[in-house]
C-alpha cells in the first residue's frame, strides 16, 4: 500500500526531500517498522532516523507514538519535537 511520507525541519534536511511516495512491504505494520524500513533506503534516511528519541510522528495528520499501527494510513509525517509559539 502506497504511503505519502512527509519530513519536516532537520529530518527533512537529512533525508534530502520533504515528501516522497513509498510502498512498504506487508510486514511493515507500525510507524516504528516503517522508520526501520525507510532507514535502509539511503544514508540520509539512516542519519535522520538514527536517534529515535528525537523523532515524533503523525499518521494522517494526527500525532501518534512511534509504536502506533499504520492501519490504512495514506500520509505519515516524521519530524523533530515541535518548537513553535
Amino acid at each position: 500500500m502506497a504511503i505519502e511520507m512527509l519530513y519536516f525541519a532537520w529530518v527533512r534536511e537529512s533525508v534530502g526531500v520533504g515528501q516522497e511516495r513509498v510502498d512498504p512491504p506487508a510486514d511493515v505494520t507500525s510507524v516504528s517498522e516503517l522508520i526501520d524500513w525507510l532507514g535502509r533506503s539511503s544514508a540520509g534516511h539512516a542519519r535522520a532516523f538514527e536517534d529515535r528519541s528525537r523523532l515524533r510522528a503523525a499518521v494522517d495528520q494526527v500525532f501518534v507514538p512511534l509504536d502506533a499501527l499504520l492501519g490504512q494510513a495514506g500520509e505519515v509525517a516524521i519530524f523533530p519535537p515541535v518548537t513553535g509559539g
Partner: protein, 148 residues
C-alpha cells in the same frame, strides 16, 4: 467564535485585538510572542505542517472555549522568515470574567508550544540552527492536563 490563522504575513496586532474585542466581552486577555534580539539571533524561520497545524490549533481553541466558556478564541501564528522584534504568535481570548480569560490565554500558548507542528530555525552569525525544545515547555503544557 474561533479564529485560526497561519500565515507568512506580518501579524496585524490592531486588527486582531479589534476582532477579539468585537465579541463585546467584559474581559480580554492576550499573549504576543516576538522574535528576541538576544544571543546574536539574526533571523528566525518557522516551518510548519500545512493542514495539520491549523487542525491542531483549531482543536486547542475548541478545548479552551469549552473548558472556560469563552466568547472567542483567536490564534494567529506566523510562518516563514522573520526579523528580531517581529511577532511570531498572537493569542487572544474574550470571556465574561477575567479569570476565564487569563487562564484560557495561558492554556492556549502553553499547549501550542507542545501540540502544534511548528519548527523554529535561528540564524546566529551566519549559522542556521534548529531550535531545541525546552523541558520547561512540557512542564507548562502538562499543568493543564488535569481538570481544574
Amino acid at each position: 467564535m474561533i479564529r485560526i490563522l497561519v500565515s507568512d504575513a506580518v501579524i496585524d496586532l490592531a486588527a486582531e485585538m479589534a476582532g477579539v474585542e468585537a465579541e463585546g466581552a467584559g474581559a480580554v486577555a492576550t499573549f504576543t510572542g516576538r522574535v528576541r534580539a538576544d544571543n546574536g539571533v539574526g533571523t528566525l524561520e518557522l516551518e510548519h505542517y500545512p493542514g495539520a497545524t491549523e487542525a491542531a490549533l483549531q482543536i486547542l481553541a475548541e478545548m479552551a472555549c469549552t473548558r472556560w466558556a469563552l466568547l472567542s478564541a483567536t490564534i494567529v501564528h506566523r510562518v516563514g522568515a522573520m526579523l528580531p522584534g517581529e511577532r511570531i504568535v498572537f493569542v487572544g481570548v474574550s470571556a465574561p470574567h477575567r479569570s476565564s480569560a487569563l487562564e484560557a490565554c495561558a492554556f492556549l500558548i502553553d499547549r501550542l508550544k507542545t501540540d502544534a507542528p511548528f519548527w523554529k530555525r535561528e540564524t546566529r552569525g551566519g549559522q542556521k540552527i534548529w531550535v531545541e525544545p525546552r523541558d520547561s515547555d512540557d512542564g507548562a503544557a502538562a499543568r493543564w492536563s488535569m481538570p481544574s
